[in-house]
């Protein structure tokens, strides 16, 4: 089983979620994050002080999928999240050894 972690633009959450659901990936967990990368931040002023803010709001989506569906999921995410501009985000894929559904203690792919 593979864990797909995608860092995306906040405005794209809905589209990505729908794209994943469409290809049959129901389960996912979403986290609010802030990202640092090539995308340039902005400057804020508060009274006399100037802050250059280089951490931008991002959404992190985590979904664990069976190996065979992973590529499809990745493509779905890309299709939904891509604008072609810097800051679109990244996808990280890594291996997961075990999945357990807490409700009924099912394990493995069936628990995804």
């Amino acid at each position: 089983m593979l864990k797909i972690e995608a860092v995306i633009q906040p405005g794209k959450l809905d589209a990505v979620k729908d794209a994943l659901v469409e290809i049959g990936v129901q389960g996912m967990t979403i986290l609010e994050a802030r990202g640092h990368g090539r995308q340039k931040g902005h400057t804020e002023f508060y009274r006399g002080r100037e802050y250059s803010v280089d951490l931008l709001p991002k959404i992190k989506i985590e979904t664990v999928v069976a190996d065979d569906i992973a590529e499809k999921a990745i493509n779905a995410i890309i299709a939904a999240a891509q604008t072609g501009k810097i800051g679109d985000g990244k996808i990280f894929v890594s291996r997961v050894d075990e999945v357990i559904r807490i409700r009924n203690e099912e394990r493995g792919e069936i628990a995804i």
Partner: protein, 453 residues
């Protein structure tokens, strides 16, 4: 009209006083400040300012997305600053100076001649400067109401220029026509089409609400609307704002008696009753339609009721106020929930659905429910509203409202066009995406990073 009503009223009161206290006889000729009336009018002025900031700013600010909260605040706050200066320079003169049936003149520019003694034309027992500053608070909140329609997408600079022009060319003449000496619609001071508007249903709510609709359509929808969900980022803030609006509205409506006599009491009661009944009306309609009554519905209903009762406040009985409120609550609910969706415009915070629709409804209902026992403005004992037998008053109300609609639509379109050509109305798509707070003001409403404990 509220001016005449006050005068009539005071005349009655004075009569009573004179009967028992002949020593006061001469006072009638030299207008004298009444400490009680002035106390109430200063409080009312403060309350109406509180309606703008923090009231309206919070009400609107809670309804937008987090990234636009300060930008939304600023659209109201800027009015508190800019309109004040404008008012002092020329607007007061345009609205309440000597002029013709449509607009005042320049005799009061830079507040020349606006003294600390009463101006009996407008209010015989308070300093004219009290009257001036009280009216200023109305001029502040009116353009601020419009901002609900173009929330989350207008440039701050364009908003400023538009608001200044709007205040000068739409608000000033409307205020003059309805409340100014010799104004076309002024029921108290010799208007051709006497239109009852106690505290600004037409002047404030119809003009701002209709102009709001026009700007919403002219500017177009927010990017992503209506597909993307854009729920209020904090109904909590909106709730605080709405409650402060309710409290402040006592200054708005009961203060429009321009004295703290029985007319103020009557308007106070009508205001409260209208708000309460409208909140119930909206909640009931919502409960019926969606299965659940919401907090946002409750406060929206209250505001709708306050809008609708505004023109009627000094003319109707408490029981009529309940009726007006209930009708307005249900009506505005359907305007916001159904009518808006049918036409599909993005009146983001429902400035038209609540103020335009509620104000228009209220103006008509005023013509229906107005009662001479509450306010003998048209003459003691003379039928005032439809139910009392004065069937033409509804027509007069319609004329007033129609004029306000006309001026607002045409005027706003022209002004939008000019500002759009001059500096552009909308922020860029990128700026809209990152939000007004950062793009227009270089700051953020909330700093999670700051929670570094």
């Amino acid at each position: 009209m509220r001016l005449r009503s006050v005068k009539v009223y005071l005349a009655v009161l004075l009569g009573l006083v004179l009967a028992t206290a002949p020593a006061f006889g001469q006072a009638a000729s030299t207008p004298k400040v009444d400490s009680g009336d002035n106390s109430w009018m200063l409080v009312s002025s403060a309350l109406v300012l509180m309606m703008s900031g923090p009231g309206l700013a919070l009400f609107y600010g809670g309804l937008v997305r987090k990234k636009n909260v300060l930008g939304t605040f600023m659209q109201t706050f800027a009015m508190m600053a800019v309109i004040t200066v404008l008012w002092a320079v020329v607007m007061y003169s345009l609205a309440f100076g000597h002029g013709n049936a449509f607009i005042g003149g320049f005799n009061h520019v830079f507040l020349k001649g606006v003294s600390l003694t009463p101006n009996p034309t407008y209010a015989a027992t308070i300093p004219e400067q009290t009257f001036m500053v009280y009216q200023l608070m109305f001029a502040i909140i009116t353009p601020a109401l419009i901002t609900g329609a173009f929330a989350e997408r207008m440039k701050f600079s364009a908003m400023l220029v538009f608001s200044v022009l709007w205040a000068l060319f739409i608000y000033s003449p409307m205020a003059h026509m309805v409340w100014g000496e010799g104004g076309l619609l002024n029921a108290a001071l010799g208007g051709k089409f006497p239109c009852l508007d106690f505290a600004g249903g037409t002047v404030v709510h119809v003009t701002s609400g209709v102009s709001a609709l026009v700007t919403a359509i002219y500017l177009g929808k927010r990017i992503g609307f209506p597909k993307e969900p854009m729920p209020p980022h904090s109904v909590v803030l909106s709730f605080i704002g709405a409650c402060l609006l309710w409290v402040g509205w006592f200054g708005f409506n009961a203060g429009s008696a321009l004295a703290s006599g029985t007319l103020a009491t009557s308007a106070f009661v009508a205001t409260h009753f209208g708000a309460a009944a409208a909140a119930l009306g909206w909640l009931a309609a919502e409960w019926f339609r969606n299965g659940k009554p919401s907090a946002l519905g409750g406060i929206s209903g209250a505001v709708a009721g306050l809008v609708a009762i505004t023109p009627a406040a000094g003319f109707v009985t408490p029981m009529s106020a309940l009726a007006i409120g209930a009708i307005a609550g249900v009506f505005c609910f359907y305007m916001v929930v159904k009518v808006k969706n049918i036409f599909g415009y993005d009146d983001s915070l429902d400035a038209f659905g609540v103020h335009g629709a509620g104000g228009t409804l209220g103006a008509i209902l005023t013509g229906i429910f107005a009662n001479s026992s509450i306010n003998p403005l048209l003459g003691a004992g003379k039928a005032t509203g439809f139910f009392e037998g004065n069937h033409t008053q509804v027509l007069n109300q319609a004329i007033g409202v129609g004029l306000a609609w006309g001026i607002s639509i045409v005027g706003t379109l022209i002004l939008l066009f000019i500002v759009d050509k001059l500096i552009g109305l909308r922020v860029s798509p990128e700026d809209e995406a990152i939000g007004l707070d950062l793009s227009q003001h270089g700051e953020e409403g909330y700093h999670a990073e700051a929670s570094a404990h």
